[in-house]
């Protein structure tokens, strides 16, 4: 590895990757000494080093070792041959769209509280840990999840809408899914199914009810969260018997009840 690079600037500096290797203890003793001599005389490279030191601190502060270890172990147990977001469709786009169309649900399902006006539809897809098996889950259904199962939400709408997804568990903890904060996402007309990015893996035990809101008017995530909390209280914490959360804005609400492994 070239330690002192000189391909972009008139002055010579230690390449960033070389500095990282130096910090990781990967350089041989001679190279190490060369870097140290350079650092002693180069303020720019010392500044780079300080950034790397700070980067290390920030990393360890934000991602604990336990969290890191758990995540790596999970990724090792359930290898993702493709990027996580791509798990729903192993088929070509056209074939996949046709396959999904078979699973589209009617709007008048038990898990759907419909507003007046244009048509909207929602659906969930569940993929097994190995992504070898997938199934659909219409709104209103109760689904038993196996370890590693991942859920993806999708929608169709004949008119522009504002979208948010929120879940609540048995203990009444409300978790925003899409978006995580701020205003609901503005979504345009989607005559073909559009799936939200990322798949969801539910942790812990018990049940989790997931709501997908598609409103005509803009709304804030906090408004929807409050509606879900109110519904939870009105249903006395029984996730199978919660009233549909509602707020001003003319929203369609879809929901699914998942039993976690």
């Amino acid at each position: 590895m070239t330690l002192i690079e000189n391909h972009e600037t008139p002055s010579s500096h230690v390449a960033e990757l070389a500095l990282r290797c130096y910090r990781a203890g990967e350089l041989a003793s001679e190279a190490c000494a060369e870097v140290e001599r350079h650092l002693a005389t180069c303020p720019a490279c010392r500044a780079k080093m300080r950034i790397l030191v700070e980067e290390q601190r920030t990393f360890e502060r934000e991602i604990s070792f336990e969290r890191f270890a758990g995540g790596v172990e999970r990724a090792q147990r359930v290898p993702r041959q493709r990027p996580r977001r791509a798990w729903v469709f192993g088929l070509s786009g056209v074939v996949a769209a046709a396959a999904v169309a078979l699973f589209l649900v009617r709007v008048s399902t038990p898990g759907h509280n419909r507003s007046k006006g244009g048509s909207v539809e929602a659906m969930a897809r569940i993929a097994s840990a190995s992504a070898s098996a997938q199934r659909s889950a219409p709104p209103g259904s109760q689904e038993v999840l196996e370890p590693g199962d991942r859920v993806r939400l999708g929608y169709k709408t004949a008119d522009p809408r504002y979208l948010a997804a929120i879940s609540v568990d048995d203990s009444g903890e409300v978790s925003p899914l899409y978006p995580e904060t701020g205003p609901a996402f503005a979504v345009s007309i989607a005559l073909d199914t559009v799936y939200l990015p990322d798949s969801l893996e539910f942790t812990g035990a018990g049940r989790e009810r997931v709501y997908l809101f598609l409103a005509r008017m803009p709304f804030d995530l906090e408004t929807a969260k409050q509606a879900v909390k109110s519904a939870y209280q009105a249903g006395k914490g029984d996730l199978s018997a919660l009233p549909n959360p509602a707020f001003a804005g003319g929203q369609d609400v879809f929901s699914w009840l998942f039993r976690k492994p």
Binding site: M1, T2, E5, H7, E8, A15, E16, L17, A18, R20, C21, A24, E26, A47, K48, I51, Q56, T58, F59, E60, I63, S64, F65, E66, R67, F68, A69, G70, G71, V72, E73, R74, A75, Q76, P79, R80, R82, P83, R84, R85, A86, S167, E173, S175, L177, P179, E180, T181, G182, F185, V187, L196, P197, D198, L200, E201, F202, T203, G204, E208
Partner: protein
Amino acid sequence: MTGRQTPTFQVIPGEKGLAAGDARAQLRELYEKYGPSVFGRCSYILKDRNQAEDAMQDVFAKALTHLASFRAESSPLTWLIKIATHHCLNILRADRAAWHARFERETRARNASDPGPQVFEMRELVAKMLSLVDHETQAVAIHYHVDEMTLEEVAALLGRSVPTVRKRLGEFAAVCGREFSL
């Protein structure tokens, strides 16, 4: 709660026959020596903290799966950076649908982190231009401009000839030039 944010707490099994304590020590070594660099690369490309963390986990899982060859690398860090770059560029490629792009803009606005000092500003310039070039050119540009590797090092890392790498960098520079002339 959903698994997108909640960590689990389990001991990594590690190599076959490796005691749990050894496996944990090994993982801690990876965490301390390479975690920030790999996470930094994933964050740089993906611009989304959650995605970057997932991608980092994938990269280290791959390293553990191929631990023997990983250990045999003259620079395990360089190997990890290459894998992380490739993995994240693939994720971006899979997310090119218009919907994802809109989401990414949202999340970038929320999560984009400024590395601060101006010594790293080249990173941002390269990042802005990545979407305008093909996958191989993206990797070449990142390794050359961000990792500050030489032409020869980039060529060796990616298994390409030096002229090919030079050509890719020329294409990247041309794209940048066109963008700035607009």
